[in-house]
Structure formats: C-alpha cells, structure tokens
C-alpha cells in the first residue's frame, strides 16, 4: 500500500447494480432469490464465514430491492420492505455526495 493511497474506494452505483448482485448470488448458490429468502428466513446463518457474509448481503439486498426484483420476476414472493420509491422521477442518480471525504488526507 502506497503512502496516502486511499484504501476504501467507494463506488457510487444505481439500484440495478445491486439487483445484478442478487442475480450473481443466484448463480453462485444455484437458487433463485425468492427460494433463498424463504429458506433463509426459517434457518440461521451458515457456519462457513464466507457463506454467512454472502447470505447476509444477499438477504439484505433481496429485502431492500424487493419491489424491483418482483417486477422483474412475477413469481417472486411478496415482501413488505422496499426501497424502490427512491427511484421515482425527480430523484436523480447523481453524485451529490461523492464520498470525497475519503480522498482527504486523514
């Protein structure tokens, strides 16, 4: 690591990025997000720490972007949580907060 090099490099993304991340987990673990969430809700985090981290993220993204996922897949399960409203017109996906603080010398 070079001196003064930024270690945490934030990437500003759209919701589509997270939805694609959900689909990456579907491929990696061989199940669709709805089945995963249904099974996951009944069980517990796996002992394997990498899988536990993945499942934590996957479940979070499923719940957070449920509206978008259901819209893309009409067979998905109902969910009470969504952040889809933030994509309504007028909420521009800009860089109003660019995390530039991380570029500042600490």
């Amino acid at each position: 690591m070079k001196k003064n090099e930024q270690i945490i490099k934030p990437q500003v993304v759209t919701s589509q990025y997270f939805i694609e991340r959900v689909h990456e987990f579907e491929v990696e673990y061989g199940t669709n997000w709805g089945d995963f969430l249904a099974q996951f809700a009944k069980g517990k985090l796996p002992d394997d720490p990498y899988r536990a981290a993945d499942y934590t993220e996957w479940a979070f993204l499923c719940r957070t972007f449920a509206t978008e996922l259901i819209a893309a897949d009409s067979t998905g399960p109902p969910c009470h949580e969504s952040f889809g409203d933030y994509e309504k017109p007028g909420h521009s996906p800009g860089f109003s907060f660019s995390f530039s603080f991380l570029n500042a010398k600490l």
Partner: protein, 147 residues
Amino acid sequence: MPSYKNQPFDVKSYFKTNERILSTFTSPIELNKLDVLYDWLVVRWRLNVDFGQNKIIVADLFRTDGIGVQHQFAYSYVTPEHDCIFRFDTHGAPIQYGESCHLHIGDKRVIEDENPELNGYSLCGMDFPSFNWLVHRHRKGRTLPWK
C-alpha cells in the same frame, strides 16, 4: 473503547474511521469493496483480511429512509480453517442502527445482549471499529470481555 459505539450513525465518520483502521493493517486485504447507492441510501461494504493466523470476514450493510438507519452485518473472526472464534451478526435481518446484535463464540454458543457472560459489555451499537477493537485484543493475547 471505540469512540463511535453508541453514537448516532454518520456515514462519513464511519468510513473515515474504517479507513484509518485499515491504514494500520500490515496484513493483506483480500477484499475491500464499498458500493454506495445514490446519496448513501444503501451502503454495502465487504472486507476480508488475512492476518496469517486468523482472518476477518466482514459484510456490512446500511440503508436509510432519510430518518432512521438500518444496519445488517456479519463480522466474523475465524481461524485459518474458518472455524469461528467469534462473530457478531444480526441473524440475517436488518436492525435499527444501535440496537443489539448477537455474539457467536465458537460454533456452538450464541450470546444475547445483557447476558452475564458479557461482563457488562454491550452488544448494542456494534460496528466495524468495535469489532476490530476486540479482534486486536485477541491478536495481542489480551482478555476479551466475555468468559
């Protein structure tokens, strides 16, 4: 103790603190990825660090509705064989930032907040700096709050 525990969540301060912590690491960082939706409506941070003998594996997720902040995480500290030394998590569901999480010790024990075994250590407001502080103590051979 980490200064951010039990403080209102401030995303700037949080990642500035985490940046400072990571700058002290000499061990290889295997994964370090921070994705932010818009003006931090959703934040996803994944971090894996290999200390040689043990590893930390972090999934740290936040979302806000502009009023409250929800936090979901799994902070694992494991052996090279991936056996759990300890792990803090929210059991796979988001909690309001500052609420209590669960502590897993080894693969069998799960401890809830206010358990006498914690010797007064609170599981509320757990975050990466707090987790790192405990990992650091363990790596230095110092006692942990729990038995």
